[in-house]
């Protein structure tokens, strides 16, 4: 077990290295020049060739790709993710500041998704018929309506119409806990819509798969109550695909909450990532991608271990 984790972690490091190299190379392949963007801004500015050259050399972009790569790698090894092209601040600090915010959104959303999605999917599987169809309608809507549409509707209804929540924004929890929570809820809810649907649909199918097994009949035969049979035998046996999709969702969301972040003006990691790509802020993009990929690789390791935990027949080795 320990060996397995250790092996996977080492492998994970290697993977992170590959990701890093790929992202480094592809960023440099993408058209668009950081210096131009820095100097011209979003507006229709113009920059002189001299100024461009100066900025490029300041950013080290005039060196060969190889040199840049080696420099970047040696930075990484010493724990330095470099500094932003745009404001020279340390990428590590930027990530450290933004990551918890996005993690918070994702965590709340996933929690909501589990709390709502699993019962919903179970209900659909157990009841069938009209209930199933109705849940299918809800979840299909949940996965097919873009999060930015749901988010916008939330703002229009809950903030503008009803005035229950502020229309987005961010307050640090340590300074203003109530304000912070007020602002987490809507985006997390909007985000959770899709995950709820995914979890619910996976649960439904897995439950249907398990519910006809002989051991479920045995569980009934020893007199366990319906809910207990369902929880301990049916659900437990259905968890594998659910765990898989939840793991995937968490990982994917880390980098994809940008639209929600935008609509609710939530200053998270994903927004920074996309903005940094658009601004060709290579070090920030690289830093964020690395962090996300490391987290994702960890999640995958956990999910893989959980297969063995969930089903003793799976040998984790």
């Amino acid at each position: 077990m320990l060996r397995f984790v250790l092996k996977r972690c080492l492998l994970g490091l290697f993977l992170a290295f590959i990701v890093l190299t790929l992202i480094f190379l592809s960023l440099h392949l993408v058209p668009g020049d950081p210096a131009e963007i820095i100097l011209t801004g979003e507006g229709g500015g113009a920059a002189s060739p001299e100024a461009l050259a100066k900025v490029r050399s300041e950013l080290g972009l005039d060196q060969s790709l190889w040199t840049q790569y080696v420099q970047y790698l040696s930075g990484i090894i010493s724990g330095d993710l470099g500094s932003s092209f745009r404001d020279n601040s340390a990428v590590t600090a930027a990530v450290a500041e933004r990551l918890p915010r996005t993690l918070e959104l994702v965590a709340v959303a996933v929690l909501l998704a589990l709390v709502v999605g699993i019962p919903l999917g179970s209900l659909a599987a157990k009841r069938g018929g009209v209930v199933d169809a109705a849940i299918n309608l809800v979840t299909s809507t949940g996965i097919s309506v873009p999060v930015y549409v749901i988010g916008t509707v939330f703002v229009l209804v809950f903030s503008l119409k009803l005035g229950w929540f502020p229309a987005g924004g961010y307050r640090p929890a340590e300074a203003d806990l109530a304000g912070h929570l007020q602002r987490v809820l809507l985006p997390a809810l909007a985000l959770s819509f899709g995950i709820i649907s995914v979890v619910s649909r996976m649960t439904r199918s897995a439950v249907l798969e398990v519910i006809g097994q002989d051991y479920v009949r045995t569980a009934k035969a020893i007199g366990l109550s319906g809910p207990t049979v369902f929880r301990k035998h049916v659900l437990r046996g259905s968890l594998n695909p659910v765990v898989t999709v939840v793991g995937l969702q968490v990982g994917t969301l880390l980098g994809s909450t940008v639209l929600v972040e935008r609509i609710f003006n939530w200053p998270g990691l994903s927004g920074l990532l996309v903005e940094s790509v658009l601004q060709r802020d290579y070090p920030v993009v690289q830093g964020i991608v690395i962090v996300i990929s490391v987290i994702f690789i960890l999640i995958n390791i956990i999910v893989d271990i959980s297969y063995g935990m969930l089903d003793p027949r799976v040998r984790t080795s």
């Binding site: 051991y215 020893i222 063995g308």
Partner: protein, 579 residues
Amino acid sequence: MSNNTSEDLSMEAVRRCPPRDEPPVLAIREVSVDFNIGGERVQAIQDVSFDVYAGEILAVVGESGSGKSVSSLASLRLLPDTANVTGSITTAGTDVLSATEAEMEALRGDDAAMIFQEPMTAMNPVYTIGHQISAALRAHRTVSAKEAHQLAVEMLDRVGMPEPARRAKQYPHQLSGGQRQRAMIAMALICDPKVLIADEPTTALDVTVQAEILDLIKDIQQRTGMAVLFITHDMGVVADVAQRVIVMQKGRVVEEAFVNDLFDDPRHPYTRKLLAAVPRLSISEGSVPVIESDPAESQEDVVLSAKDLVVEYPGRLGRRGFRAVQNVNFEVHRGEILGLVGESGSGKSTVGRCVVGLLKATEGELNVCGHDISNLSSRRIRPLRKRFGIVFQDPASSLNPRASIGDSIAEPLRLHGNLSSGKEARKRVGELLESVELPSSWYERFPHELSGGQRQRIGIARAISLEPELLVADEPTSALDVSVQAKVLEILLELQGRMGFSCLFISHDLAVVESLASRVAVMRNGTIVEAGSINQVLKQPQQAYTQRLIAAAPIPDPREQRRRTVERRAMSANEATRA
């Protein structure tokens, strides 16, 4: 365990006159069940009625597929949704067909417990057996988890599970077929039910354990007055335990009688046929039907030989592995059937899996059809596969649940039998189905739509479809009624006669082994303790274990069986005092 005669006599009395003044604990009245298969209704049982009284063991025997399991499942309302049940069923005072779900929950496992036919699929693979047994207890009694576990271990001990404390922490797939069945039994008995519905509870058990289990059930029954519905196809077991017997055929009850009467004077033709087909262990009869193979000829042709075979199962999550087979040596010659008998959990199935290359030998040599199979890559083994077949011990789990049974049987034909067309495949499958006494029209059925015995026959049909040179048959007839069993044995013998087919025949039914095999090896604790010709081993067993095994084999004659039980108990008591 005491064994004085007076108790036996009183038991004999009980057998004759079950107390009829109280209402039956289990009353089945004109129950019919049909299943919906592809929109059609298929009748499984029709107008079945019988009663089981407190303190009584009612044996249900009959054709495989005659509706024994369906009737028993119906008594606890455990049939799948596709079943339609009519009639009336009263189980331990509860009107099963109209009870609320909560009433059923209170009933199941507490007043009425059930032992399922196929323990592999009937136990949840993700919980330890200890957990599952204590869950059964805690569903009805308020005990702490720790206590429950303790009681579960005790129960496991009582059902003869070796090293119960360790086993309690194991998962079903880590146990042998018989061990699983014992866990299943422990689960059913843990709450001291008023009525026990036991569906072939001892099929996977070797006779010694079987005898112990039967004793245990009888014991509990005497103590608590439990009513037992005992489904079995083993007439010996019937003779051993039952007071009354009902015989089922084609979904109906065709005969009901006290056990002695049934054996003395069977009325229904089917019952007569059934009794006639029962293989009898020669020792009980004095005559030995010997199938002598020519040793000179077979010496040349060793189809299968094992030298110092060792098999170890890997431990989970870095724990130490488990050595299931140790230094086993044996040979099977061309045209020979070697019987492999022995204690449950002794490694018989493990040897069998090893022989067909599903498990790698940890050490030693295993020569199959001229190839050292333990050293072959799976790619190299594949072409050999059409030369040997295997019947798995657990038919439910060895059939692909997503494939129709026809496809499952056709698969080897498609792979090796160079079939010219789909039509031909259908035809061949039809023939094979009929050869195991199943209608050829069942091609499209799925495994879960069959009875246990029917599934087992699918496994046999699949294994013999290519007419293999070597067959590993792991308890191939354990779930079959004796008439079908006789048919299957006949097929095997016919194959042997026709094409010099050899067989490693794993069984706990000594009579079957005797009727089929020329030589037999007895396993215990992963080693072969005794081997030799049938005559030698069964007539003059050298090892105490073998002696016990033979003594424990039930005889399909209630009076004789009583006598033997007494003898056996005396023997084990002696052994116990000696030890």
